[in-house]
């Protein structure tokens, strides 16, 4: 695998040729556009030092899932080849992002700036509507949860216990209900919510306010992962601003604006910092953690919408999901469904809207991009990320967060929408933050590294996950070191099947994610694994039967 010295010399030639390759196998529809990009965007100049670093990485066992920050910053393309269907970014309206603006100009959007640029208009409009019509609007928009599972948000809201109304049309008091915002973004390779919380916290807060109003929730908690110190601080500052400006607080939303429900509606909002466990991103574990207990997922049923935080009905939404709400309410569901794509399956649920996609790995310009759902992975990598790093060949990509499985070399054209799971044999779209691997990546090490992550993050409640994840890691470690045998490979696959993929074997989906990741990697790169293991010889004895004797 070591081709450092000779390649160094023939760097230029190699670059030329590899540049040519993608164009040849580019999809027919995207061909011309791709060509234009490549001409217009200037390539990053790779310094000698960078090459050295890369060489080191290639030799090292560990696979880096984090983009190399030291890379030369590419400049903004002169001609923008790719536009969103909405014409302009929605979630990243106030956050400069490639390919629309240079991220150099990013700054925390303050309350004043947010309002100046049309903020809190969605909330104002929502408050003028009846709560149920807000829910109905969200339901019609088919906004699917951006946290990974893609469950329709509007539908989730309707699972809350129905409220009775008396003769005069006044709703009964719903009692304590809670909104928990899942900002525990711990999936390796995923950094989309961070962008929102980092620079546009009021967008999130506005979404929270709308959700609370629609679901008649008076208390919202933002559960933010422990490692997001800065983001928690930004959010807290923003919440303070929001309280000062009457968005939240005892007077009612938007300073006590009369609502379509009748009278003002007050919401309290709190930030709760986690202690840094991946499992707390699981919704019921998140609730346990919010209650101050150990983050162990709960058994379902009862579902959180019936009995959640502190035993009360609770809605749990992702940061990005609620960030979509202001624009949906403001522009209407019909506007929202114009973006993204419909499902290609009959009666399949559509993937409307835009999505933040954080691309990392071996690409030239890793980062967070806002794209319409349904964008092919190739477009995302070749256009937004300006191609594979060093012009190398695409080998695979983790679909979206490592628990979703891997897209193989033949799945470069995969469209990033919620149908991806059924189409390309991965668990699902996940967070839509692909980690891209180039041809030099050691997939055995990738599998081992992923197994290590899950072993470390398994909460230890269910037996199969607690014990299986450790075993899987040890087995993959042995295979990586070259001490494995073919029967170990079979055993690895068996564990990766029995540990959680048999539905219901564990309480939450962590084991399932572990399985999907490891199983899809082994299945899609089986040859690479087989090259590492020594064969197991099964002794075969020819038995001459009793008949032959007699």
């Amino acid at each position: 695998m070591n081709k450092s010295a000779s390649q160094l010399g023939s760097r230029k030639a190699g670059k030329e040729s590899s540049r040519g390759t993608p164009a040849r196998d580019a999809p027919i529809g995207n061909g011309p556009r791709l060509a234009r990009v490549r001409i217009s965007v200037s390539r990053p100049r790779l310094s000698h030092g960078t090459l050295e670093t890369r060489k080191k990485h290639r030799g090292a066992r560990r696979v880096r899932l984090i983009p190399d920050a030291r890379k030369a910053r590419p400049t903004l393309g002169t001609a923008m080849s790719y536009t969103l269907k909405a014409g302009q970014p929605i979630l990243t309206k106030r956050i400069p992002c490639w390919p629309f603006a240079d991220p150099k100009g990013r700054h925390v959007v303050s309350y004043d700036e947010y309002v100046r640029s049309g903020g809190y208009e969605g909330l104002r409009k929502a408050l003028s509507m009846k709560p149920d019509s807000v829910t109905e609007e969200v339901k019609k928009s088919v906004l699917r949860g951006r946290g990974g599972a893609g469950f329709p948000t509007g539908l989730k809201w309707t699972f809350l216990p129905k409220l009775t109304t008396d003769e005069s049309g006044v709703e009964a008091d719903p009692g304590a209900r809670y909104l928990a915002i899942n900002a525990d973004e711990s999936e390796p390779g995923t950094f989309k919510d961070r962008l929102l919380m980092d620079f546009d916290p009021h967008l999130v807060l506005e979404g929270i306010a709308i959700c609370c109003y629609a679901c008649r929730i008076r208390t919202a908690f933002i559960f933010i992962r422990g490692e997001y110190h800065h983001q928690a601080h930004v959010l807290e500052t923003a919440i303070k601003e929001a309280y000062e400006n009457g968005i939240f607080g005892g007077k009612g939303l938007l300073g006590g604006t009369a609502t379509g429900r009748g009278g003002p509606f007050a919401v309290e909002c709190h930030v709760h910092r986690g202690a840094g466990a991946y499992i707390c991103g699981e919704e019921t574990a998140l609730l346990e953690a919010l209650e101050g207990k150990r983050g162990w997922p709960r058994i379902k049923p009862p579902f959180p919408a019936i009995k959640g935080l502190f035993g009360r009905p609770t809605i749990i939404n992702n940061v990005e999901t609620v960030a979509h709400l202001p624009s949906i309410v403001e522009h209407g569901s019909e506007w929202f469904t114009r973006q993204g794509v419909a499902s290609t399956f009959p009666n399949g649920m559509a993937s409307y809207g835009t999505k933040l996609m954080g691309v990392s790995g071996h690409v030239n310009r890793p980062g967070c991009y806002e794209c319409d759902l349904g964008i092919p992975l190739r477009t995302l990598v070749e256009e937004h990320c300006q191609g594979m790093r060093g012009g190398k060949k695409f080998k695979g990509a983790i679909a979206g967060g490592i628990s979703m499985g891997i897209l193989g070399p033949d799945q470069y054209e995969a469209e990033m929408d919620f149908d991806i799971g059924r189409k390309h044999n991965v668990l699902g779209l996940g967070t839509a933050c692909p980690t891209v691997f180039d041809q030099d990546t050691d997939m055995v090490a990738v599998a081992r590294n992923i197994a290590r992550f899950f072993k470390h993050e398994s909460c230890g409640q269910c037996t199969p996950c607690r014990e299986g994840s450790g075993w899987l890691y040890q087995l993959l470690g042995r295979i990586e070191e070259g001490h494995g045998r073919t029967k170990d490979l079979d055993l690895t696959l068996e564990i990766a099947t029995s540990m959680g993929s048999m539905p219901g074997t564990t309480i939450c989906g962590l084991a399932d994610g572990n399985n999907w990741a490891v199983r899809t990697i082994i299945n899609k790169y089986r040859a690479e694994f087989e090259a590492r293991v020594r064969p197991t010889f099964v002794p075969i004895r020819m038995t001459v039967g009793a008949m032959a004797k007699g």
């Binding site: 058994i299 072993k455 037996t463």
Partner: protein
Amino acid sequence: MSSPTPTITINGVRRPFSPGQTILQVANAAGVEVPQYCYHDGLSVVASCRICLCEVWSPNPRTGALEPFMGGKLVPSCQQTASDGMVVHTDSPKAVANQKAVMEYLLINHPLDCPVCDQSGECFLQDYSYQYGRGVSRFQEEKVKQPKKDLGNHVLLYSDRCIMCTRCVRFTREVTGTGELMVMGRGNKEEIDVFPGIPINNELSGNVIDLCPVGALLDKDFLFQQRVWYLKETPSIDPITASGDNIWIHHNEGKIHRVKPRENPRVNKWWITDEVRYGWKFVHSADRLGAPARKQYGYPAQSDFPRAYEIAVAGLRRAVEDGGRVALLASPMIACEEAYLLAQVVREIDREAVLAVGPVPVKGSDRVYPPGASEDDPRAFKVHAEKAPNARGVRRVLEALAGPGQVLDFEAFLRAMGKGTGSSGVRAALVTGNYPSAWTTPELLGCLGGKFIVAIDTLAGPHVDAADISLPAATFAEKSGTFENARGMIQSFERALTAFEGARPEGQIAFDLLHLIACGGEYERAGATRPEVYDAADIRSRMAAEHETLGVFASAVGHPAPRPQARPDMRLVEI
């Protein structure tokens, strides 16, 4: 469609159930074996061991056709409530594959130290790996090694062996409400621990040892004492407190090795206090009386039963002939039947004998667990401050004989014996003890002076030395009988051991004395007659027949439930 009583079908057999029961509860009640680690009737459900998963089909509410429940997922039977018409398979290929997988996972980090583990023989992991596991291990990697920890006065933790069922953690949170135990760490490095400096020393701490399905939590007291397959178990009743906790006595070769709680939802649920658990030690005390003794030249001298009995009967009779009264101090530690027979003995000699109940020790005040729970809460566990098992039963029996209000308590007995006044009509007394520790008070000793005293006791003490005749009695483990607990429940217990050396149950001593009295006080006149043999059940029916007020002893005695028949663990193979 729906039958009057809802039924579910488990492994092909229909079982009725009451709404709200989980599948596992129905299966357990019906005797269908479903493997289970983390589930316990007395604790909340966490469904974390995942071995009880089963395949469930349920009828479609519209069409009535059977459909895979929850989309064909395996369902934790401990958590899923049963619904009418469900069809449950715990032996389908899918369920069995899961059982096998879970067993394999549990065993990969479990040390192979069954030979030195105290739990082996009653270990769920052993049983299930025999029944549901695979014969060989495919795990070649290093096992996770974890330390041995001292958790408290009675509890030792071998973290290695723990399977993280968290039963113990839930116990300390839900039953005792003290929450000493916790889960530390994550994944396969996770372990049970206590907070540094706060050991598990609550009153019920020993129960975590019983709860542990494997050998992770062990009893320091029982550590390495016996292999459990040597132990024989006998149902019994807590002999030292008024709560009447149901217990199992585990004994071998005439020695008690440990006491375990016996499930009784109406009394002690699944638990016992540490006091009861380790309260059997006096049975094997070095101070046990092993032979009768009589006073000779002012000092006790070893004697034999016939001689001691003759002197006792003669002494008691002489007291009556001298115009004095005979008194009986029936200890609240003896069984109801024995109190009845002893009262008969004194009443045989003196029709108007003084009957009294011995001192009832009280320590502290009553406590309810979890703290703050109501006593009537079905999950609450009450610890009684009264440290005598049968104060009510003895009084009930004596009152039936002497009439209500005629039975003295200990204070009144002392006064009747001449405390303070120095003069008393009582000339002789039969004093019983059987307390787990020394109980004689100076007042009692003072009162006993100058009278003819027959002491029937288990442990040596000043009043035994002072007695004219002392007879060795048998402890609760060495006899059968009934105790009435603080709630007025009469419960019977059985004999576990043969009596220590020459000791005899008080009931037998009473029969012997009655026999001798009937023979006129001399064995020479006994001829071929023999004393009756003490049999608690027999006396209970006699008591009920002779006294209307003692009818409860025929109708309302709680007997130990028969142990469910264990399935043979090897099937007979037809050859």
